[in-house]
Symmetry: C2
Subunit: 233 residues, 2 copies
DNA sequence: CCGAGAGTGTGGACGGTGTCAACATCCGCT
DNA sequence: AGCGGATGTTGACACCGTCCACACTCTCGG
């Protein structure tokens, strides 16, 4: 009874164990044989459920992505500000903080997410692939929505909207990488958190600096409200 | 003659081979046995010159760091602008571009640099350790100098100076990681380059926004120059 | 001139890994 | 009942890092 020939739910057991290991040791600490051993099954039993080691890592990455999204949503939903402009600004900040929160709380899983990141979001701008409809919604979309809000609310000038995703993602991702696995990994937490505040404030300041002035100056501001990006010509 | 028992300069030969391999396959593609094979020497001969695989990787990382610094210096030295403000602004931009240049040109070595990055620069703010005097000057110092110039020249307000290194490093590093090994790795080069320009322009705009206002408009533009939002300070 | 010892390279071994192939077992369906 | 597919096991191969004992070569002191 204790050791049945068929495990029952080996797949999820393996992924669970993999998540646990990756959480502690990162993607490089993930070994199929080790996981099989932990789960109490013989080596390469896993190959009945995963074609590759990479396939298993990919599964862990999806779990990590869920966690990342959850962290971002948690921060986002905690914003109580009512003034539209302040709210939109605050939400963007919190989005970034949620991202870094997760990277700091789960550096191993965070790394897995970005070692096995499937394909660039620009290739499929709508987010979900047709052959993978239930795919987790990218943080990219969350970010895009927050930035759109910032434009709608009148804080971010449309001229500064293009590639704003890349700016925000870059700052926040760079900060996360540098402070978790990078050269700044030993910066004490208080200084680190203060630095993140300043970093995000820098972005906020930039966006505020391009706010459309109340009375439109001689700048025609080329009213391209349509966010059609990739349609270059 | 062709095969002498003593190789002569095995150490450098190994590092050369390692740099070549790492340039193509990144740090994970680096195997001591494989390198020994390439150099035409038996396995673990390398262990007479490197205590560890990590020690060898570290050597490659130093080479990579040299390349990174060279790329940044190249961009920096190419700036011909004479107007002090414009020059300082331009130099900061070019510093970032040089960083990204190298990451895109040598993604494998770039990764090695940051998988084996010794210790945070904040621990040793002066840069060089006393027991390693000839150590390569951090890009961190280059960045700090450029930012100091920006303050001296009057473009960057001193209030925005703290942690400016982290902001700039984060954007640029994040951009590099996302576009080389990350989810944005398949963004075509022209769009990518344009995006970097916009990203850097965003930072520049932020720093300009805190400049002592040339034409102080009636709008204080929410003059909370202190980015401390929720902080109790 | 020679021999000792340090420096360097070789060969073998151990435990670890991913992955393939062949075999064993069990469950569900006919 | 029994058969087939799904699942798990055992064994093997080729890699890997690393430790060990050994072999060769060069240099230096006598």
């Amino acid at each position: 009874m204790t050791t049945r020939y068929h495990h029952g739910n080996l797949r999820t057991a393996l992924v669970d164990a993999a998540v646990e290991v990756a959480s502690e040791k990162g993607p490089d600490g993930l070994a199929v044989r080790d996981l099989a051993r932990r789960v109490g099954v013989s080596h390469n039993a896993a190959y009945r459920h995963f074609s590759d080691r990479d396939a298993l890592v990919e599964e862990v990455a999806q779990r990590g992505m869920q966690g990342l999204l959850a962290a971002m949503h948690a921060r986002l939903d905690a914003v109580t500000e009512t003034d539209p402009v302040e709210r939109a600004r605050c939400r963007l900040q919190e989005l970034g903080k949620g991202y870094v929160d997760y990277a700091l709380a789960e550096p191993g899983l965070f790394r897995v997410v970005f070692t096995a990141y499937p394909e660039p979001p620009s290739a499929a701008p709508s987010g979900s692939d047709p052959d993978d409809p239930g795919a987790a919604p990218d943080p990219y979309q969350l970010l895009g929505a927050a930035l759109d809000d910032l434009v709608d609310v009148g804080f971010l000038h449309p001229d500064a909207r293009p590639d704003a995703e890349m700016t925000c993602w870059s700052v926040v991702h760079g900060f996360a990488v540098l402070t978790t696995e990078g050269p700044l990994r030993a910066v004490p937490a208080p200084e680190r958190d203060a630095a993140l505040d300043r970093v995000l404030a820098t972005i906020d300041r930039s966006y505020g600096a391009t706010t459309a002035p109340r009375r439109p100056r001689d700048e025609p501001a080329m009213a391209t409200d349509g966010p059609t990006r990739g349609a270059s010509g």
